[in-house]
Structure formats: structure tokens, C-alpha cells
Subunit: 344 residues, 2 copies
């Protein structure tokens, strides 16, 4: 449990993001968190890089409605401060907090306060790689996983088990391999992500493949898409991944639409765009197929709740697999929206 | 072999797209194909929905440099026409071409001319599902795979083996399941895609997860991203998926950049955007990490060929893991571009 949100144990996959305001600017930070909450962000993380930032965590926590996670690096005291301020979870990377005595203090303090801890090891924080007996550098993925499991053992030795683990890298195949490996080695809930994924267009592809392929195999309990951009887009992309895999309810109807080709005799991209913009709040469980031609059109249209298969300047409207009527191209958007309204 | 392009057998994964011009408009079709070729499209498909379109295939083929595939449905004669016109491959869905005698003619004719065939079964083209002994509708994925393998057997019985298979659905988990199943059942090269994936933003996520997770496991020999939009974007997205998985050389350096957070003291998104726009043609094998802060910054920067780890209004420049110099924020873009130019 992170505040009121369960991670793992079959709970729905929680979507996280991280503020990019200065944490000390409490108003700006709270405003951004409220916006993210509105978009469905389930858990929010803020950086606490110094004692001024850490001292604001209690005030931020008071003014928001979703669980608060403090991101701590290097300075053990900041973790103790954050726990004292009442955050719901802290994220640390023991790789940069190696003073065992101080780490022990953090673990004991978190345990007493019921604060969860994410052990977040990143490829970028593995500083030293040994040369093995064959003269080769140790495998980075194996090293990350081993290092994470070693930390777990230390936490367990102190009776602490409220752990979430992450083993992110900026390389997608390595990330997939790391999570598959650690999922096979322990039962702790896993926080998924591709780290430093870059600007939004590239980061979407990287995150969709990395996070999506793990979730498709049942690996992962919470996720954070990482964009060099606005955290709002991270939350939206997180939900797109979950919705694509059937792991989250859509907020509006799902549009299935074909790429168009030489067979298409209607302006499909325009129709899809208009329908998309007018999708009503209700009807989120519906699948709406908008297809350009009679090849896969009727088939897809039948598989969907509502379907339109385009002809030459007209479309055939399907409802639950049955042809309902022929509609002029200019009336197709209205007809589809009407049906969505009616069926929801 | 499809024209000069090998599919399967360890060849690099070929990126395909499909024109959305009217095939009969030869000038427009050839122009679009040339644009796609310029973007790296390896194989192009055009629809041949009627005999006028089919009659233009030879002329199109003459005027382009990449292999040409004709997409044929319903009308057997169009497949024979396309083969006669000298296309390199035809794509048929035997589900809508069930006249065995005519199908046999197509197979024999393709064999004589050395034309490859894709058996492209789509969820939308499976029309009838039986009710099994338990009163449940047959599983769509199993039905698609079984139907595809049945077709393969028929082709093989006529000595035809130049096959590529696809089992696309518009549902990502079903698509992943279908391809995993068929990959386990036969050795034919597989053409990957999520069909009718919808408008570009959603289609990117769907295709990245569907196609990407299969490729990550070594499944798939050619791909087509399907967007309700321009085919140009399909080719770009195809390459982004391949590059993310290390299956295609990048065209420019790869940018690794962090999402920024309360620790970031430079305008990272702006710097990344400027570097991205100025990336030189050379340096495609370089990884450039642009990180906002000292937490993972130096680590990521060291893992990359060129790295910049931001501080308060400055950055530390790394080269091949070694700190080179301190750079003012205003000079960071220039410094990074200079290094990319120097190292490539």
C-alpha cells in the first residue's frame, strides 16, 4: 500500500508521474499535481534534492489527494526528513546511499511510520563493473538485478518488506531483459519504466515497447512513462499503454480505423478525426470501427459494437454485427456519434 | 525474395507501407512511392481493387526502385492480372478467395513467374465462428492461425513455398498471441502488424507494443505500421520501432534524455529540442545523453559516447566515459553538436 493505492497483489496497474516544478515552490508543485490527478495520475513523485525541498513535503502532502513519493539521492538525512514529513513512499537508489548505518536508520524509520520504499536501480547509477574471469566486463543487466536483490536481502534482514523494485535502463531490450530476470527471482511488486527515454515521439515508442511488452506478459504492477517534456503527457501515454492491453478502462469509446489505401472512396482520416474530437464522455466501453472499404470493413464492423464500412461516397452502418442502414458520407460523423450516444 | 529484398532467413527486417493514392492515378502513386522510398521504405504495396487498377501495375513497377506488392481481394482474376503485370509479390486473403480452382491457377501462375505470395488473414475477414462443444464461440486467434496453416498446406500441396504469413488483428494482445502461436507452428517468414490501429497517436502505441514485443522476442521478418493517416508516418514509425530494438541502424545519433524533475536547473527540454533539430547526418552510431542533474547524469553520460550532465546553469561534458569540461548552459547545444561532428 502506498497511501490509499495498492501496488501489486492483482491490483490494477497504477500510473505514476513526477513533477518537474521546483519542489520548494509549493504552489506550483501542488497545482501541477492537481492537474495530473485530474488526468488520472494515481501516485505522484517529487524530487527532494535538498533540505528546503524536503521541508515542503508535509505541506504538499496536505494539499493533494493522491499518494506522495519523495525521490531521494545521495543524502541519507533527506530520506529521514521525508519520512518525518509524512510522505507515503520514498524512492531511493541504495547505489548512491551506501552508508549502511544511515540506510538502517531509514529502513527502521520507514517501518515505524508505515512508509513504503522503492529500490530504484538505474543503469546510469551502476558505477563500477568488474572484469570477469574471461576478461569481459560484467553484464550490466545481471549486475543491476543482482544489486537490487542484494539490497532486498538487507531490507528483509531488518524485517522490512514494503518494497517496490525497479531496474530501468535507457535501452529497451536491456530493460525488458532486466525486468523478466527480476520477475523470475522475486515476488516484490515491480515499477516499470524506460529511463531517460528522450523527447516525446521517441519516448512514446520506447516506453510502449518496453513497458507494454512486459505488461503483455503479466510483468509489472505500476508504471511511469518518462518524457523529456510535460508530465501530463507521461500520464496520457501511460493510460494509452494500459488501455491498449486491456488493463485499464478507456475514458471514451475506442476507435478502430484502417490506414486507407487505393480502395478507399471516402475521406476517412477526416471522418475519424471529427468523430474522435466529438466522442462523448459516455460510451467508454464501446468499440467503434470506421473502415474505408468493403474488404475488411464489414468484418471489423461486425466485430465491433458500432461499425461503418465505407463505399463510394457512402457508408454502411453496423450495430452489434448487423447492418442497420446506408449513410451518405456527409452524414457519417453524425450517424456514428448518434449511435455511440444511443448505445451507451 | 520479394524482388531484390530478402524476407526472413536472418535478413534485416524489411519496412513496408501501402500507398493511399488511387492506383489508377499512376503519377500520384509513383510520386508517393518515391517519397516513401526516400524515407527508407523497403517494399511497397498498392491496392488493385479493379481491372483498371491492376492494368497500371506494370507501368508503376517500371517507374519505381523498390519491390511492388499488389493487394488483392475477392476477385481471383485481379491476382492473375497482377502477376501478369510483373509485380514482385501479391497479398491475398484466401478467406475471401475461396474458389479452389481459381486459387490453384493463381498459385501455379505465381510459381511460374517467381512471384511471392503473402497469405494475409485478418481478424476482420474471419466471417464465421462455430460454437464448440462447450457452447462457446471458437477462439478467434486459434481460428485465424488454423485457417492460415490450412492455406499453407494447400499451397505446399501445389509445390508453392514462397510464402509470407500475417495474422493481424486490431486488438494488440490477440495480435501478439496469434503471431506467437503461428511462429511456434511453422517456419515461414512473418509479416507483422496491428490492423486498423487507428489515428496516429493511438496507432503508434498499439503498433509499438504489438510489433515491438514480437520483434523483441525474435518473431517477425517484415513489418507494416498501419496509421489512419499518411504512409510516410508509417515508415517513420516502423524505423523507430526497429531502431529502439537495435534492429536497424539509426540515421542520426540517438538522444538519451531524462524527464527532468525538481532537481533540474537547466532548460533541458529546450536544449534537447535544439540538439535534435541540429543533429548532423553523420554520427548515427553515437549515443548522446543529455541529463538534467547529477543523479543519474554522470552515470548515463558515462555509458554514452557523448554525455552532458546538467548542474545549476552549467553542464559537465563527458566523452567516452571521461569528463572533458564544464560548459555554460548557453553553450551546451553548440558543445554537443561540435562533439558529435568531431566523434563521427
Amino acid at each position: 500500500m502506498v497511501g490509499g493505492v495498492e501496488i501489486g497483489n492483482g491490483a490494477k496497474v497504477a500510473v505514476q508521474s513526477m513533477t518537474n516544478t521546483h519542489t520548494q515552490d509549493v504552489d506550483a508543485t501542488v497545482k501541477q499535481i492537481s492537474e495530473l490527478e485530474e488526468l488520472g495520475c494515481n501516485i505522484i513523485r517529487v524530487a527532494a534534492p535538498n533540505s528546503e525541498a524536503a521541508a515542503c513535503l508535509g505541506e504538499i502532502k496536505k494539499r493533494i489527494n493522491i499518494p506522495l513519493v519523495a525521490d531521494i539521492h545521495f543524502v541519507h538525512q533527506l530520506a529521514l526528513d521525508a519520512i518525518e514529513q509524512g510522505v507515503d513512499k520514498i524512492r531511493i537508489n541504495p547505489g548512491n546511499m551506501q552508508d549502511k548505518e544511515m540506510l538502517k536508520k531509514i529502513i527502521v524509520s520507514a517501518k515505524n511510520k508505515g512508509v513504503a520504499i522503492r529500490i530504484g536501480v538505474n543503469s546510469g547509477s551502476i558505477r563500477d563493473r568488474n572484469i570477469d574471469n574471461n576478461g569481459e566486463e560484467e553484464d550490466l543487466v545481471e549486475l543491476m538485478v543482482k544489486s537490487t536483490l542484494d539490497y532486498c536481502e538487507y531490507f528483509e534482514s531488518l524485517g522490512f518488506k514494503d518494497l517496490v523494485l525497479s531496474v530501468k535502463t535507457s535501452d529497451v531490450p536491456s530493460t525488458i531483459r532486466a525486468y523478466r530476470m527480476i520477475a523470475g527471482e522475486c515476488e516484490y511488486p515491480l515499477h516499470l519504466g524506460v529511463t531517460a527515454a528522450g523527447p516525446p515521439a521517441l519516448a512514446t515508442v520506447k516506453s510502449a515497447i518496453g513497458i507494454g511488452s512486459l505488461l503483455a506478459d503479466g510483468i509489472g504492477d505500476t508504471l511511469r512513462v518518462s518524457f523529456t517534456g510535460l508530465p501530463h503527457d507521461e500520464v496520457r501515454a501511460g493510460y494509452e499503454i494500459l488501455e491498449t492491453l486491456g488493463l485499464s478502462e478507456r475514458k471514451t469509446a475506442e476507435i478502430i480505423s484502417c490506414p486507407t489505401c487505393g480502395r478507399c472512396e471516402i475521406d476517412l482520416a477526416d471522418i475519424v478525426d471529427k468523430v474522435k474530437k466529438r466522442l462523448p464522455q459516455k460510451g467508454k466501453n464501446l468499440q467503434v470501427a470506421i473502415m474505408g472499404c468493403p474488404v475488411n470493413g464489414p468484418g471489423e464492423a461486425k466485430e465491433s459494437d458500432i461499425g461503418m464500412a465505407g463505399g463510394k461516397g457512402f457508408g454502411l452502418l453496423f450495430k452489434k454485427g448487423k447492418k442497420v442502414k446506408k449513410v451518405d458520407e456527409k452524414d457519417m460523423v453524425d450517424a456514428l456519434i448518434d449511435e455511440i450516444e444511443n448505445m451507451s
